[in-house]
Amino acid sequence: MDITISDNWLREYLQTKATPKQISEYLSLCGPSIEKVEEKDGDILYHVEITTNRIDCVGVYGFAREAAAILPRFKIPAKLKKLNPNNKINKIDNLPFSVVSDESIVYRTLGVVLTNFKNRKTPDWMQKRLLACGVRSLNAIVDITNYVMLETGHPCHAFDYDKIKYKKFFIRLSKKGEKVTSFDEKTYELTGGDIVFDDGDGEIIDLPGIIGTKNSVVGPETKRVLLFIDNNNPTRIRGTSMKYTIRTMAASINEKGVDPDLGKSALLRGIELYQKVCRAEVASAIYDDYPKPAAVKTVITSKAFIEKILGVDIAKDDITKILTSLEFSPVWKAETLSVHVPSFRARDIEIPEDIVEEIARVYGYFNLPSRLMEGKLPDPLYKSPFSLEWKIKNIIKALGGTEVYTLSLVPNNYLDAEKALSLKNPIGPESKYLRSDLVHSLVTALKENKGDYESLFMFELANVYLQTVGDLPEEKLLLGMCFDGYKYVQVKGILETLLNDQLNIPVSFEKDPPSEKINISSAKTPIGYLTERDDGIIVSEIDSQALQKLYRPLRSFVSIPKHPPQIEDLTLNVPAGVEIAKIMQSIKSASNLVSDIGLSGTYKNSFTFRVTYQNPEKTLTDDEVAGQRNKIRRVLKEKYSLEFK
């Protein structure tokens, strides 16, 4: 939660010679983080981030309390001026007021009636401070309630006393369908379970801890004011505030659990201000119902435990000093430490580790040394996939591929929306579904680049998400590739180089009728596919897990022949409908001296094959080569009716 603290307001409670820069720097090292220090209208404003567990620092007083504990650690004297408003009240009347409460949802209620408001204009100094904290100034009566909240950290509210029918609040939970209109004219239909004040006849006259209602709000015609403080169940407050999106400062503070013990001081401070600023007078007794004051909490720890977490020795004296400065009461019994936790930290401090945090942060994390672990190392991960993934990326880079990261969330036309997982709260329809393939995203990425290239090869190694009944989806890691401006032979060559040559995974390409997909298979099992789309873009996806399983880092060594091979080119005209792979296979098997065959050139349907003849025992003569050539010629003639050119 981000708040603003005024420096000159702060110094009403903090006696110190520290400069704003020092306050900002030292508090940030040991306590609440000051994000920015701003000079404004002759005052200095601290922009502070309050974490959810430190709502005790949200008011000027709580912030001053932290500063008074921290600054002396940096050799800067600082003293906290206690919040001690005058509690001797002269009341001029005995107006009735009471509350019928529910202690399971509201922990404390305090109220007092004031009359004779001789001034309703908010003085400049108060307006300035409210504005600096981002709070609008309305009139003195309402402004003082906000001022008390910002100063003490406990929200409070002013009611028009004459609008309270029976001068009683009946506290209950809302029922479904009940309606309430806030003071800023917004009407909400409640779903039930919200803490509300009933006037006794079923009408809701407040949404406590969150926002005031129109039917009880203070206005220019108000003669008598009920100043009221309620301390509520934080979970209910949060629920109501989030449900109807009423995010007032009061709600943001109350949902984090304010110390009920603070209520009395806050009320008395409010009375003080009404008397001072409005010259108003107290017209009732102070109503205070606090049925179950929290018992003093004690956490037990030890010097040994503290040192175990800190990693350094720390003197008992220092521990005592630090905890005392934070208003904790440490009691030593030999090396065991019992710590009484102050009420304003009761929600945050539960376990010994919490006590250690208090000591460590004020001791100064910057005072601790830096050491690396010395102990035993953990076992490595069985079959770790990462180094092969990196290797694959580098091979693809060498083959001209550009890696891209596309969003895992896609629109419904990228997949079968019935089968795919979708988000309950997407940002928009374009990113509602968890993708089940990479190709759609890659093709979109490719097309976004139209015109910037002659040929483009993009790739991505990412998960697709396949729904599994009753469990988390299968996260399948795929290697997706797409090519534009590439011919089929080029793409096939890239894949063959990657798989056959670099990863030592022998693959074959098999058509998968009736689809246009060409399967990439290892030992007849498909591990991926490629397809040429109508728009000329070629796409491919390969299962990364299959690559992990089939990858071989080393090939079996082939000894180098002692004798030179004979190499010659044979050209054939191959008509459409005859697969080249079959011709090459036939040539290879026609003669057992053909050690290799490649395609060295094509022109229209003329194909030139480079044939390598090798006898491991000797150098073949021209006649012997001719003999093998004839075998090939015979096979080609018989099987395919083809002749060399």
Partner: protein, 342 residues
Amino acid sequence: MREELNNLKNNALAQIIDAKNEDVLEELRITYLGRNGNINELTKEFKNLNDEEKKEMGILLNETKKTIEEAISSKLSEFKKEKSNAWFDYTIPGKKYNLGHIHLISQTIEEISNVFEKIGFVRVRYPEVEWDWYAFGALNFPVDHPARDEWETFFIDTKPHPKFGAMLLTPHTSSGQVREMQRVKTPPIRMINIAKCYRRQSDVSHYPMFHQFEGLVVDEGINITHLKGTLDYFAKSVFGQTVKTRIRPYHFQFTEPSFEVDFSCTICGGKGCKLCKEGWLEVGGSGMVHPNVLKAGGIDAKRYSGFAFGWGVERILMMKPGLNIPDLRQLYSTDVRYLKQF
């Protein structure tokens, strides 16, 4: 034969002198000196000679061969000399070789992983689609706690699990902590979990998907000094020996104590600039693992303690001086003019 050899020699020399270029010269070499060349052809006729003549012709043949070889050789040198005197423009732009590109995010992940692996961390990658229990429940977040707000989570439209709660896209790699504890079972644990995370951030300067790396160390006697040591080691490995680190108080449900981690600004060196806060850059959060989290992972909190940290991969990348990427969303651009710069 003597006459034939002589004629051969003279023809060869004449042609060699006339040769216009190296290709022609090579053709001549094959013609005269090749396997099926003129000289070798002549050797076939040796069988018609007697021993005396064979010896004589043998010597003459070798001499002829040598003469032709030398002529070819010297003509080659002539060509070379011409070349070196000819105009050779060394300023000509070099041929372009188009390698592909590995994304900066992948490069950064690899770099981060290598740093931690050097000090014994085991790299893992835990699910992107997770149960509420692993992402929040086991990490000590009560149901409907305000602390959950900051994580702005995406929820999957599907039935919740009776034990593990709602299905969601994990907003942080911390969801891997309890999974790792369940995997390893008995410390020592040194985990570096690097994976995709998702947050439903409505403002323009954020991308809903990003990468985090989560470190978790659990063992006997682990304390705050080890956390400091580890992040100091990381900072110096990635940003150089002069970088400084510090930890400040913060709050996370799953750590106690919790810390905010800063590195001295890598852009201005700590002097102060518009990117940093008085010379410090916020890197991310960390803390000592909360005993409830150890318990959720089945680890004996009385015997073992640990620390954890979770930071953005993109954050580390943006902190690298000299990179000059104006904002994080650019990293997820699919524009190839941008990707080709990596």
